[in-house]
């Protein structure tokens, strides 16, 4: 549109500021619509999140209205707004690619002045699910705390003010950090954000529990007294102040929010201008000195791996656990959950020492979709596999690399769980069962890797399969886990029999039996998978290259 129109339309001087707002609003709507047009899955996801948000927002408004007249309504309202504003500030760091109109690199060639551009961008960013949610929150809050004409008037100002401050906050944070966000390290960070959120939920959970014990909202009043002066919560604080007749305070609080909006817009404009008039990250990186010795030489444990294909593949696998954000995230999750579940149950006194087998199951899951973890770089592997033997060595090396971490870890989790429960007698049996389960998971994982490979998207913390392959991923992992449970059936059966028949003194037998059985099953699985892998190299490559 612009390229061909610009020289032809001789009556197009600098674009007037007012004309820009509808252009950007239309751009935003078009991008949204085209994004949804790409896949029905995305449409469904968007529709679902819209419905959930609307329901949630409606519930929130109703709840806030019900709160009207409650003594601590203003405390809650102010704190809620502060939490939402915090969300707005943090969101762009975790989901940087959410909004294409955010990227100043796309606007840099257009003849636009910063001031009208900022205005238009601000208006355009009011469209979306997030702003809708924030708007209903602000509206409900005003209804909850506004009493009297003055409060209603200040409420009419506070609602748009809150919304604008939130949006401007998100935009200025994103623009200020866009160098980081568009760099490789920033994208790696975004992939790891899933972990941060998982840990954050634990903290919120903990906080909510201690709040319940400490006597409810009244314990938060001191915090709220500070927060009601912080924009954008201060805008709603102003409504509460006006209701109580403290008009001076109300005016001050409103003014604070207005100042904050102005300050954020100024910051945003400054970083935008700086971004659009200075060389971008790629130029800087290319001009800079070749720094960072990422992998200088072989060191430590990795240097002691054997020569040949086995050691080479193990070394690459282990390096990827440390360096690839996606692999790292999945490993850290497995290690954390594999320890937390048995241990927490043990600490609460409700668990059995057999919960320790959970660690083996979680870690064994890392064997699934081995080739998908390679992404399309699998072609390097495919070109070096010309026989079943090659495929066998490749898969065995990957399983060995996995065992290098999982074996000691399984032992550790089992020993710690048994120690916490004080059930030392069961230790060898549980360990044997864990080994059998680990072996079965490796076996089914290897077979699933060969038969049901799928692409792992490299961006985004929460996507683990490409659209259209999600079902495949679920079936392969779920089916594999059931199969692994069945495969370790003999050892499970032996355990049950020893308990039922009262041979508790023979439980130690499970350790050698489980270890040998696990090793045998794993070997068998890798053998079977190797033949299928060698036969299906082009098909596997096609399946893992969709990312």
């Amino acid at each position: 549109m612009t390229v061909l129109d610009a020289p032809a339309g001789s009556a197009v001087p600098a674009v007037p500021g007012q004309g820009l707002v509808p252009v950007f609003v239309r751009l935003k709507l078009t991008l949204l619509r085209n994004g949804l047009r790409q896949s029905s899955g995305r449409r469904a996801a968007y529709a679902a999140s819209l419905v959930v948000t609307v329901l949630f927002a409606a519930g929130q408004v109703i709840g806030l209205i019900a709160l009207r007249g409650h003594a601590q309504a203003d405390t809650l309202v102010v704190l809620l707004t502060a939490v939402v504003a915090l969300g707005w500030a943090v969101m762009p760091l975790f989901f940087p690619s959410g909004d294409e109109t955010l990227d100043p690199g796309r606007l840099v060639m257009l003849p636009l002045r910063p001031r009208p551009l900022i205005g238009a961008l601000l208006v355009a960013s009011l469209i979306g699910i997030g702003p809708l949610f924030t708007f209903t929150l602000a509206l409900g809050s005003v209804i909850a705390v506004a009493h009297g004409a003055a409060a209603a008037v200040s409420g009419a100002v506070a609602v748009p003010l809150t919304l604008l401050v939130c949006v401007a906050l998100a935009r200025s944070v994103a623009t200020a950090n866009i160098r980081l966000l568009t760099s490789r390290k920033g994208r790696d960070l975004a992939v790891l954000s899933g972990l941060v959120i998982a840990v954050g939920i634990q903290f919120v959970n903990f906080g909510a529990q201690s709040l319940g014990r400490a006597g409810g909202l009244s314990s938060l009043e001191p915090v709220a007294d500070v927060v009601r002066w912080l924009p954008p919560a201060s805008a709603l604080g102003a409504v509460a102040s006006a209701s109580e007749g403290s008009y001076g305070t109300a005016l001050g609080q409103l003014l604070l929010s207005v100042l904050a909006l102005g300050g954020l817009m100024w910051l945003w404009q400054r970083s935008l201008v700086k971004l659009m008039t200075s060389p971008d990250g790629s130029t800087i990186a290319a001009a800079g000195p070749a720094a960072g010795r990422a992998g200088a030489g072989r060191s430590g444990l990795l240097s002691r791996l054997p020569e040949g294909r086995t050691g080479t593949v193990m070394r690459r696998s282990l390096l990827y656990v440390v360096r690839d954000p996606k692999t790292k995230a999945s490993w850290v999750t497995a290690l954390a959950i594999g320890l937390i579940v048995p241990l927490l149950n043990a600490v609460q006194g409700s668990g059995s020492v057999y919960f320790a087998c959970f660690a083996a199951g979680m870690l064994g899951m890392q064997m699934y979709n081995q080739f998908g973890q390679d992404t399309s770089a699998f072609w390097t592997v495919a070109l070096s596999i010309s026989s079943t033997r090659d495929a066998y060595v490749e898969l065995r090396a990957r399983a060995l690399a996995l065992l290098l971490i999982t074996l000691p870890y399984t032992v550790l989790v089992t020993v710690v769980t048994a120690a916490v429960l004080g059930d030392r007698g069961a230790l060898p049996g549980v360990m044997g069962l864990s080994f059998a389960l680990l072996g079965a998971m490796l076996a089914t994982g290897a077979v699933a890797s060969a038969l049901f490979p799928y692409s792992v998207p490299q961006d985004g913390a929460f996507k683990n399969a490409m659209p259209g392959q999600g079902g495949l991923a679920w079936i392969s992992v779920l089916g594999g886990m059931v199969a692994a449970a069945v495969l370790s059936g003999p050892v499970i059966g032996l355990t049950v029999w020893l308990h039922v028949a009262g041979h508790r003194d023979l439980l130690w037998l499970l350790l050698p039996v489980g270890a040998v059985y696990g090793a045998f099953i794993a070997w068998l699985g890798v053998r079977l998978a190797a033949a299928r892998t060698a036969d299906r190299l082009p098909e596997i490559l096609a399946a893992v290259s969709k990312g």
């Binding site: 990422a294 020569e307 690459r316 390096l319 690839d324 390679d374 495919a382 070096s384 010309s386």
Partner: protein, 274 residues
């Protein structure tokens, strides 16, 4: 280790001399993706010891053909031989003889350049010490020594192509397949790549590379195959394919049936009064 074909004497007589088998022989090769026929029954014979260009517009089927020839994509029908061995029936013989630089596929990007070469060489069965020696020389020649400890994910396009070329050359293959090796590469890196390839073919090895930049093909190759819409339109020495035309570009446009399109009246405002 694959031995080098002794083919210093094939200049000008390829295809007729009973010497070594052709580097690549393709018969009746088909590939269909859903409704779209990407490669429709091509026959191709690429002589050994040449610098061969596979040219064609975007979407002509070059990448699909090269993927099938290198064993990365299963054909629907047809026979492919590389250095006299069937690609699909005899992968042991073929895979050790070829080097590949694909287009649009990733590398193991979380390894540093040096680690990637070390990994690829050992995966190919080269002894560790030999791999490291060759890697050092390749990194030097390709001007990557300064960036050898940087992760490949932080490399520029030109550097990626160069490290990809290095890992394709590491095991000294008989036939080297390069898919768009100069795409997005800066002139300095392009010259470096060119130098390495020219030196490599002088030893008697075969390079097959795809491109849609005719000037490049004309200046580098001595043998050309022209592809369009899934078919081979012409193949032979550069002179044969060029024929009467002034340049390969002209011959190519004629072959693929894309004459000079007159813009007519439709852009009359362009360059007019402002």
């Amino acid at each position: 280790m694959p031995e080098q074909t002794d083919s210093a004497d094939v200049t000008g007589t390829a295809g007729t001399a009973p010497g070594p088998p052709p580097a690549v022989r393709v018969e009746g090769l088909w590939k269909r993706f859903g409704e779209q026929v990407a490669v429709s029954g091509i026959d191709l014979e690429l002589p050994a010891g040449r610098f061969i260009g596979l040219v064609g517009p975007n979407g002509a089927g070059k990448t699909t053909t090269l993927s099938m020839v290198t064993g990365l994509l299963r054909p629907d029908m047809g026979r492919i031989e590389v250095a006299g061995h069937d690609v699909w029936r005899d992968p042991v013989e073929v895979k050790s003889r070829i080097g590949v630089l694909p287009e649009g596929l990733r590398l193991f990007e979380r390894l540093s350049g040096r680690e990637l070469l070390g990994y690829t060489g050992r995966l190919r069965g080269l002894p560790g010490a030999e791999t490291d020696k060759r890697a050092t020389q390749l990194l030097d020649v390709l001007d990557l020594a300064g960036a050898q400890h940087k992760l490949v994910v932080d490399y520029s396009t030109g550097m990626r192509k160069k490290i990809g070329l290095a890992s394709a050359l590491l095991h000294n293959p008989e036939v080297l397949f390069l898919d768009e090796p100069f795409e997005g590469v800066d002139p300095v890196s392009a010259q470096t790549i060119r130098g390495v390839l020219e030196r490599y073919t002088r030893s008697g090895a075969t390079v097959v590379f795809s491109s849609h930049v005719m000037e490049l093909v004309e200046s580098l190759c001595d043998w050309v195959a022209v592809m369009a819409a899934g078919r081979i339109r012409a193949q032979g020495t550069l002179a044969e394919v060029r024929g009467e035309a002034a340049s390969l570009q002209d011959a190519f446009l004629e072959l693929v049936g894309a004459g000079t399109r007159d813009t007519g009246e439709s852009l009359d405002w362009l360059g007019g009064a402002r």
